[in-house]
């Protein structure tokens, strides 16, 4: 065995170890992307599972409790009628208005409410044609992070 081969062999072992690390980290660090409809139809199977879902905001449903820093709102899937109530212990994003797309991550509780740990918004049409490549920080513009770490 030449030294080159030995080095390659050693490195592949390390690579294998790192791959295992990737895969073991993945499930715990990931969030499943589930449509609202599917989430509500299979409440039990998604219990205690960290999921991500998105829908359009119903502006009339927004309730903001400043003293408790608690935000309640409802989102609905585009073109469907199932409504998902969301509770979030955090502040309201800047553009929290009708029909903005809200991306929530968190858990569905027993009452069928979604306890969000992260709420992000994006506008469906207003930035159309704009180039994300050019200003990558822009994507966070409406991001309201409380659980970054």
């Amino acid at each position: 065995m030449t030294k080159n081969k030995k080095i390659v062999f050693g490195l592949s072992l390390v690579a294998a170890a790192i791959m295992i690390m990737f895969f073991s980290t993945m499930p715990s660090a990931g969030s499943k992307e589930i449509a609202i409809e599917e989430l509500l139809n299979n409440k039990d199977s998604f219990k205690d599972e960290y999921v991500m879902t998105q829908g359009l905001l119903i502006e009339d449903s927004v309730q903001w409790n400043a003293d408790k820093i608690e935000l309640r709102f409802e989102i609905v899937e585009d073109g469907r009628d199932r409504i998902l109530p969301v509770i979030y212990n955090g502040v309201k994003p800047d553009n929290f208005s009708e029909d903005v797309i809200v991306i929530v991550e968190g858990f569905l509780n027993e009452k069928g409410e979604f306890e969000a740990e992260r709420v992000q918004t994006k506008c469906p049409s207003k930035y159309e044609g704009e180039d994300p490549e050019n200003y990558d920080p822009e994507m966070h513009q409406n991001r309201n992070k409380t659980n970054e770490d």
Partner: protein, 659 residues
């Protein structure tokens, strides 16, 4: 104007196609006249691209709303600097910017008399293919000179988030990096086509690669800084697909910058270097594809542009082409590669560094693509966010820092173990003392302490290396310390430039580790006159004021700040309501001192007397920007200094001095 703009674009296609064909004919027939004609083509192409670019600047600057692009991204009230910066606010303009830069780069290569050699026609052909692609995409899909049906009175305006100095700098720097990588790629492929297996292409493109890397670094840093100032979530990096897209080529080029030294000196790692530079180039296309196709869920709205598919096709084409060229020459590359002589040598330590950087690339790539991978395999999209990246990247980066601490001490070929130990001892000891002090100070968090200790170790090693070099020179030349230090750096700019970059990274690491591990966040609703405590700060909410400025309504919260019981001025977070933009935006207020940032966002208010704030204490964030500046300085020193051969000579002489 419309005519000139469109004619210039069509001319761009025609000329680049012509120059490409002229190159190919010239090469086939070995006819200088055709090659000369292709050179002329490249120069006129640069001219035509400049006309397009100036024209776009002109119509943006003079607010000619009959052009769709101008109407979509600017309005009358916009300050002139942002009117001009709107050049790269949309797809069409950024494609034009890319084309413009690429054609200028190509012209520089073709014009440079000193570096004329047989490779140039191949290089220019490959770059021309790129330019042709961009022109075609522009004409077919994203024409910056498209007209509106009816001329609007005013434009839509630029997204307020983009009205920041970051907008002027960040996209341009990133693009200069992206575009710059096409040059070493073109040289690498040219060398392969010509079956020239020496390190010539690496030597010729060292400055191009380093410049591209410099701009990628700068682009990413400015992006982070901008996000931190503008977006109000208190962070600078979120592992979003778009950010990852620009981080990936940075990682692979960082690896290449190290491994290319091995090929230069030792003629080793040829296939590896070729693969790295091909990969870096492909990643720039891949990144563009990723962010424009909208295949991943990002907070971005990507619009309905189908630019992504163009990039996918082009990327696949270039990749297959590169793989074909490498595969057909593989035996040749293989035949005169040298094996590594010793495990304990700079060569193998660089190899390890490359391995780690590629692992990091893979980890980021894997995380970014995981939603797609998981959807293909299991049918459910699983998004991995910051937690995954932080978890996986933290150990990788730690190993990288450790390598950076050890590698400068290992010499080429076969390193002497005794000397290595001797040189490591003091820096390591100092780092351990530092760790003990941290623990004694009651600082918690074992991982952060380990990370900081390794960082300090790395920093110490570099200081010690510089110090040793200077002392050795002082002994030999009887110069003063400063003079010796200066001359030493001057004589070997590549090495010491690199050290400065490493020191910059150490300083950034302090910022990143501390701000991740020790940041504090408080959300609070307070009444007028009420005080509350965050970290060492005591904030008092005084009042809410509202003013009208340039058609925008600005609500400002005035707060008094006490730091460790002492009065520390005031802080004024704002919320701005725009006349021409539907959403308001939060203007973050930041108070920076050497060790931490007080970061205050005015979130909302119930009345004039009651408002909600988000307050963050971010330790050492300003170090990240300082480290970034140091990295840029170091890269610049390495860039302007040192012909390869000179560096080699001095490098060996210095080893002699030290031994």
């Amino acid at each position: 104007m419309y005519l000139i703009g469109n004619i210039a674009l069509i001319l761009g296609i025609v000329i680049s196609l012509y120059a490409l064909i002229a190159n190919i004919i010239g090469l086939k027939r070995k006819d200088e006249r055709w090659l000369e004609s292709a050179r002329g083509g490249v120069l006129s192409l640069a001219f035509v691209a400049s006309i397009s670019a100036f024209l776009l600047f002109y119509i943006l600057g003079t607010s000619q709303f009959q052009f769709q692009y101008v109407a979509s991204y600017t309005n009358n009230e916009l300050p002139i600097i942002y009117k001009l910066a709107a050049f790269w606010a949309g797809n069409a303009g950024s494609l034009l910017l890319w084309t413009f830069l690429l054609s200028i780069y190509t012209a520089i290569i073709v014009l440079n008399k000193k570096k004329q050699n047989k490779m140039i026609p191949y290089v220019s052909s490959i770059l021309l293919t790129n330019i042709l692609f961009f022109y075609i995409v522009m004409v077919l899909n994203a024409n910056p000179f498209e007209m509106t049906d009816t001329i609007p009175l005013d434009g839509k305006g630029l997204n307020p988030m983009l009205q920041n100095p970051g907008m002027v700098l960040h996209p341009v720097t990133l693009y200069m990096g992206y575009v710059g990588l096409a040059v070493p790629f073109a040289y690498a492929i040219a060398a392969l086509i010509m079956k020239r297996m020496d390190a010539e292409w690496i030597k010729l493109t060292r400055r191009w690669t380093l410049t591209a890397w410099l701009f990628l670094t700068l682009g990413n840093m400015i992006g982070g800084w901008w996000a931190y100032l503008e977006l109000g979530w208190g962070g600078y990096w979120a592992w979003d697909p778009v950010e990852n897209a620009s981080f990936l080529p940075w990682l692979t080029v960082s690896a290449f910058l190290h491994s290319m030294m091995i090929q230069e000196r030792k003629n080793m790692l040829k296939t590896w270097n070729l693969s790295l530079i091909i990969l870096s180039y492909i990643l720039t296309l891949f990144g563009t594809f990723l962010v424009r196709s909208g295949i991943l869920t990002s907070v971005h709205s990507f619009g309905d542009s189908n630019l992504g598919s163009y990039f996918l096709i082009f990327m696949a084409f270039m990749m297959l082409f590169a793989i074909y060229v490498v595969a057909t020459r593989y035996q040749l590359i293989k035949s005169d590669s040298k094996p590594i002589e010793s495990y304990f040598s700079k060569e193998s330590s660089f190899l390890l560094n490359n391995f780690i950087l590629i692992t990091a690339t893979f980890a980021v790539f894997f995380g970014t693509m995981y939603p797609l991978i998981s959807e293909t395999i299991t049918g459910t999209k699983v998004n991995v966010g910051a937690p995954y990246f932080n978890k996986v990247m933290a150990p990788i980066m730690l190993v990288l820092l450790l390598l950076m601490a050890i590698c400068p001490l290992i010499s080429w070929q076969k390193a002497v173990f005794d000397r290595f130990i001797r040189n490591t001892l003091i820096p390591l000891f100092a780092a351990i003392v530092f760790a003990i002090i941290l623990v004694l100070m009651g600082i918690k968090g074992i991982y952060a302490i380990i990370g900081l200790t390794v960082t300090v170790f790395m920093f110490n090693v570099h200081l010690a290396e510089i110090w040793r070099g200077t002392r050795a020179r002082q002994k030999a030349t009887k110069e003063g310390f400063i003079k010796a230090l200066f001359r030493l750096t001057r004589k070997n700019q590549r090495r010491y430039g690199g050290y400065i970059v490493h020191i910059g990274i150490a300083i950034i690491a302090v910022g990143v580790i501390s701000s991740n591990a020790y940041s504090e966040e408080v959300m609070k609703t307070v009444g007028q006159g009420e005080s509350f405590q965050v970290g060492h700060y005591e904030l008092t909410f005084k009042e809410l004021t509202e003013i009208e400025k340039n058609g925008n309504g600005i609500v400002t919260a005035n707060m008094d700040v006490n730091y460790k019981g002492k009065r520390n001025g005031t802080i004024h977070p704002e919320k701005i309501f725009y006349g021409t933009w539907p959403e308001p935006s939060s203007e973050v207020a930041i108070k920076t001192n050497l060790t931490e940032d007080l970061y205050v966002v005015l979130s909302s208010w119930e009345s004039k007397e009651k408002a909600t704030f988000v307050i963050k204490i971010n330790p050492f964030v300003s170090w990240i920007w300082a480290g970034g500046i140091l990295m840029v300085i170091g890269t610049a020193i390495a860039l302007i200094g040192g012909k390869t051969s000179a560096a080699f000579r001095i490098g060996s002489r210095q080893r002699g001095v030290r031994a």
